[in-house]
Amino acid sequence: MALVLKHQPLWGDPAPFHAFLDRFRRENPDVALRTETLPNASDVAREMFLTALEGGADDFDVFAIDVVWAPEFARAGWLADLSQAFPPAKLREEFLPSTIEAVTLDGRVYAVPWFLDVGLLYYRSDLVPRAPKTYDELRDLGRAAMERDPRLVGFLWQGRQYEGLNCNVFESIWGHGGELLENGRIALDTDAGRAGVQWLRNSITMGLSPRSVTSSGEEETRRAFQDGRAVFLRNWPYVWAEVQQPGSAVRGKVGFAPLPSISGAPGAGTLGGWQLAVNAHSSTAKRRAAERLVAFLTSREAAVELALHYSRIPARRAVYEDARVKDAAPFIAALLPIALAARPRPVTPYYELASDSIQGELSAAIVGLRPPSDALSRAQRIVDHLESSR
């Protein structure tokens, strides 16, 4: 039986992953497994799936989906219901809670977490004595370091008009005690929403963040931080390996911590990452084999392999305790509290539809074109229109 797995490139040497897949081939001699690679840009991959799945494509069986697509694709009927093979209760026990929340719609499971991503705060341990717990502390520590060395910028984050901006703003809204879903609907025009956006805008007007954050994505901010030009950086876990490389100007001078919050409790980072789903158009005969492949790829062994060879952050709780991971990838093992606290973007089929409009309005607030309250009420109007009209 031919089975096709479609996934994004994992980066690095593909050999360990292929060796791992060979193990599946040996254990399942009845399955002829083939892999296909997706475009690396997430939105391009999504467009591809949108057209293929809408056309009823059945030339791939197991595929990797971005964490925000699961509710939408499930609602469209493109994802096989996996609740039987992967009972939700069992998944909740074994995986980090937010990763299961992101793949569950109306109590049914439509994908299994493969690996995750989460927003966190990097800081220069040679410039500040400790990681800030509150926003005020972040401001004060940043300013103090900037006074000692005027060439430094305080706080780098991603403010370009793209999905990353939403992630940064949502984190700030959560940090100000807000919720993004109210009764299953996206809620932006709230007190915490306004406070969250205002704080990011303030970081620019008070000079803590350079104005260039409004045109920066992950890589621009990572490079500036790695060149030693910033005190704090909000980014994803991949940055850790980069800043510890031999050529890095800040090697050995970087610490990481949960994002700050208004209360001082550890803030939540946005959940990112990839899940494995089974194509609803695949034949029932292939369904069982596809589920076996999903189980194999999301097993503890697989997560350890991905952590060790590709620095992918495990979605399974037990992997953080695994001796091999603790030994060879201590950074990943230490990420557990941050990964546990990760929160998904609003889990609703409407999110992708609304995300683009939200980005535009948030960008307007960040660059100072409109006050946050105006921008958020405009964004809310668009979101309400999208949600109510259907």
Partner: protein
């Protein structure tokens, strides 16, 4: 009578192909624009002019239309103002110089836009080094003008080329006559060159305005329409609605609106061009 029918028969295949590749898709888009059609939700129902009604109240549409119109007018005006002197210089220049000037036009837009994005980069960009206080792509006003700059850089050679062709079609003896009549350089240019160049200028204007009004690739690579949708043109808004959100109904409405604007520009120019010269 017979020859007219013959002509019609001969033209039929070409007309059929044109209808197949141009008319049918346009009509299909118009038909789709009358529907609420969202792939992900399997929604597809007829809503009449509901989408167009929403379009009239959609602030983002009007802002995209304003941005597109501004982009088109400023970019094409500057291209013409620079293109004309360049054409005059090229008229006397040699082959190598002409080839060199055409270089920006030869580079694929996505590649040159990526290159400019690096020049504008707020950390490493050359332009940022020259003017460190300006965050080119980070604030709405400068981002739009940065996009215009990229378009001007890329398509001025094209405008110059069309004008050059126009210049070369002007017979030398009119200049000689002007010389004999004692007209100075400025007068010759204003009273002889410019009027005779008018058809070429109009052609360049038509091509460029239609092109600029549908601008997508350069801006998409440069800013993706940000910040604050300040560089979002009609094409980008339509693309995002169609492909990112999967809202085929409203996305088609936006495409139809863009098409209508382009049609108006095109028809206006063709009527203008078609007028017999005095």
């Amino acid at each position: 009578m017979k020859s007219a029918r013959h002509g019609a028969i001969m033209a039929a295949p070409a007309a059929a192909v044109l209808a197949g590749v141009a008319l049918v898709p346009v009509l299909a888009a118009v038909w789709l624009s009358l529907h609420r059609s969202i792939v992900v939700f399997h929604e597809h129902r007829f809503v009449g002019f509901g989408n167009f009604h929403f379009l009239l109240e959609d602030g983002r549409f009007w802002s995209a239309l304003r941005t597109t119109a501004y982009f088109t007018i400023v970019a094409v005006a500057v291209e013409l103002l620079i293109g004309l002197p360049v054409a005059l210089l090229l008229h006397r220049g040699r082959g190598l110089l002409r080839a060199a000037v055409l270089l920006p036009w030869a580079i694929p837009t996505a590649v040159s836009a990526r290159m400019w994005a690096w020049l504008f980069n707020a950390d490493y960009g050359l332009l940022h080094r020259l003017a460190p206080r300006v965050d080119w792509l980070g604030s709405p006003w400068t981002a739009l003008h940065a996009a215009i700059l990229v378009d001007v850089w890329k398509t001025t050679p094209f405008v110059a080329l069309i004008l050059l062709a126009g210049l070369q079609s002007i017979p030398e003896d009119v200049f000689e006559a002007a010389n004999v009549d004692g007209a100075g350089r400025a007068r010759t240019f204003a009273l002889v060159t410019l009027p005779l160049l008018k058809p070429a200028i109009l052609v360049a204007l038509l091509f460029r305005m239609l092109d600029a009004f549908r601008v997508f690739d350069a801006i998409y690579v440069l800013t993706e329409g940000g910040p604050a949708n300040a560089t979002e043109t009609l094409s980008i808004y339509a693309y995002k609605t169609l492909m990112r959100s999967g809202d085929f109904g409203y996305g088609s409405t936006l495409s139809v609106a863009t098409f209508a604007c382009v049609l108006v520009i095109g028809v206006a120019f063709v009527r203008f061009l078609g007028k017999p010269a005095r």
